[in-house]
Symmetry: C2
Subunit: 360 residues, 2 copies
């Protein structure tokens, strides 16, 4: 079968032939439909995976995926069920409190592997064998958009954690700001639209631009960071009750403290490299305290967030995904899906469509 991988010491995706996996007991054979590409995939290519799966000199890429059950292999699934795999896996067969209680997203580095990212093969292949306990079923009619379940689940978790931090008091947030106009930022902006009177999205693009079009069609205000840097946002638009940081720009957490309204919260999702710079730490400390502000780091997501993401996916408008899915590449011509251009919002590799599999 075809698989898109990164090899040891290489930094480009490659299409290779691999044997079709043979599912172990408790595993389902999934025929992949679509696999998305995000910033993490680009980092895996650039820096190499955290580690390669034991014994292998390649890593199958991809952690955002949707597929269809080809062989239930004695599990509760049925052939034709549309499924999304979760990302984290146990490191070994030993006890792992985080996985044992269904919270692999809370397992620290060193206590998990991540499919397509570190230590475990990803989903960018025609077939994948996945433990039934690491699959979430989604409605067949959402199959084409199913590739968004994983990124939405990551936002579900971040929003859940940020909101929880505000739960001891009567928080009535009105203004939300998303830092970053990539696919994840735009989907999150759409998620926040239901809850907030005013939503804003920060980017650094000139018009005309497809992401700015999506931002405005969502009823949000585009903020060009070259004109209005984050610390100046309150003056221009008012303080933000909730800020969602998805750029990985290292200064954002610190700049965001100033951009928050009193009692506001920042959810941090980006993973920047080391970068030393000056901050007025005294004023930021005081600002956090006297205005009851919070910074919440969040990574990954668990099955509960995946299930919530399926509901969110159903609720979001279809046009959004049509606009976001700018690049649908075949595995034999995957290069455009890994290219970087301002016209591209979300790129995916399509291994099969549901109609292909129904024909069988």
């Amino acid at each position: 079968m075809r698989a898109i991988v990164v090899r040891r010491e290489r930094h480009e995706p490659e299409l290779i032939e691999l044997p079709r996996p043979d599912p172990d007991e408790g595993e389902v054979l999934v025929r992949m439909l679509r696999v998305g590409i995000d910033g993490t995939d680009h980092e895996v290519l650039e820096d190499g995976p955290g580690s390669f799966p034991p014994g292998d000199d390649h890593l199958v890429l991809g952690h955002e995926a949707v597929g269809v059950v080809e062989d239930p292999n004695g599990t509760a699934y049925e052939t034709g069920d549309v499924v999304v795999p979760t990302v984290r896996r146990r490191l070994d067969d030993g006890p792992n409190e985080y996985f044992d209680r269904g919270e692999p997203d809370m397992a620290p580095p060193g206590k998990h592997r991540e499919c397509g990212i570190s230590g475990a093969h990803g989903f960018m292949a025609e077939y994948v064998a996945v433990s039934e306990r690491r699959l979430v079923e989604i409605p067949r009619r959402l199959a084409e958009r199913g590739v968004f379940v994983e990124p939405i689940s990551v936002s579900e978790k971040a929003i859940e954690h940020a909101y929880a931090s505000r739960s001891p008091f009567d928080w009535s947030p009105q203004r939300a700001l998303v830092l970053g106009n990539g696919a994840l930022g735009l989907v999150t902006l759409a998620m926040l639209r239901q809850e907030f009177d005013d939503i804003y999205c920060l980017g650094r693009r000139d018009r005309p631009d497809p992401t700015i079009e999506v931002i405005e069609r969502l009823g949000a205000t585009y903020i060009d960071s070259r004109e209005t840097p984050v610390p100046e946002i309150p003056e221009e638009h008012g303080g933000m009750d909730f800020i969602y940081e998805a750029t990985g720009y290292a200064k954002h957490p610190f700049e965001s403290i100033r951009a928050l309204a009193p009692n506001g919260v920042v959810a941090l999702l980006g993973i920047p490299d080391s970068w030393t710079f000056e901050i007025d730490g005294g004023s930021l400390h005081t600002e956090l305290v006297t205005h009851n502000k919070a910074l919440i780091g969040s990574v990954n997501s668990n099955e509960r967030h995946f299930r919530r993401a399926v509901r969110t996916l159903r609720a979001l408008p279809e046009w959004l995904f049509d606009e976001l899915l700018t690049t649908v590449a075949a595995p034999t011509e995957f290069e455009p899906a890994f290219a970087d251009s301002d016209d591209q919002i979300k790129a995916i590799v399509e291994f099969a469509s549901l109609s292909d599999t129904s024909d069988q």
Copy 2:
């Protein structure tokens, strides 16, 4: 009546004569028993109050207080009830959503006054008139320790907010660290003793020292920051699940990110001055995200926290307060209560004792 005030342009406390207040409708006349002094009082003296009460060139000091009802003035209170006043007051008679819903602690600067701190007289006087809605009753047998209700309530809120941020997942914290060995830090250490297997308190004092004695009597480990700076704490003692910052040292929030265990949280309470310094913001950002860490700023407390503080006060051992209350000064000889010495942990001014008032 006697009152201890700071005058405009002065930086020393002064004992002056003021007319005994005449309670308005809905106000109770409280005879003060004891009023505590904390870092905020020293800041008010040094920098001046945020503002003086309208029309006055002096501010009655003190926001940690316990008193006894002298005249219920038609309210639901009875003469002899022991009461603790809360600290924040409305700015004016206009609507104020925060006060309306019982959450003055969430009112941002500009939406409240603080007794003894900014815009409203404090409690360091023989008599104070307080709205019945700004009083919390405490058991008579806790009267002597009642001065600790306000500081404990501040910690109750900070702990509540920090814990809430960890509520979406199964958090089983084991190690807690209090930054600061002042009275507030020591009381909080005692509060955390119930919940944590291992508690630590950071200070910068040489032995023998009365605060280190209290730390060790509580079963906690003293960490000398000159020997083990905050970022090195995990190496020495393990990562901390919860860090409570009460020093106002501007670098603590940033250093604490490193000292946290995965999924840990820092509650920030200090209010430092502006101070610009370098941080590796990229690594701190990544650390917050990949380890699901959080920073929660918290200020003040509301009536719910005061009520919880009364329960906490009842549960904490009596010896603790005997050890903490190193200085009990009469109003006519208040100077030692405002002095700064390593032998002093908590200083209070005692205007009356419950037995004085019972004699009446």
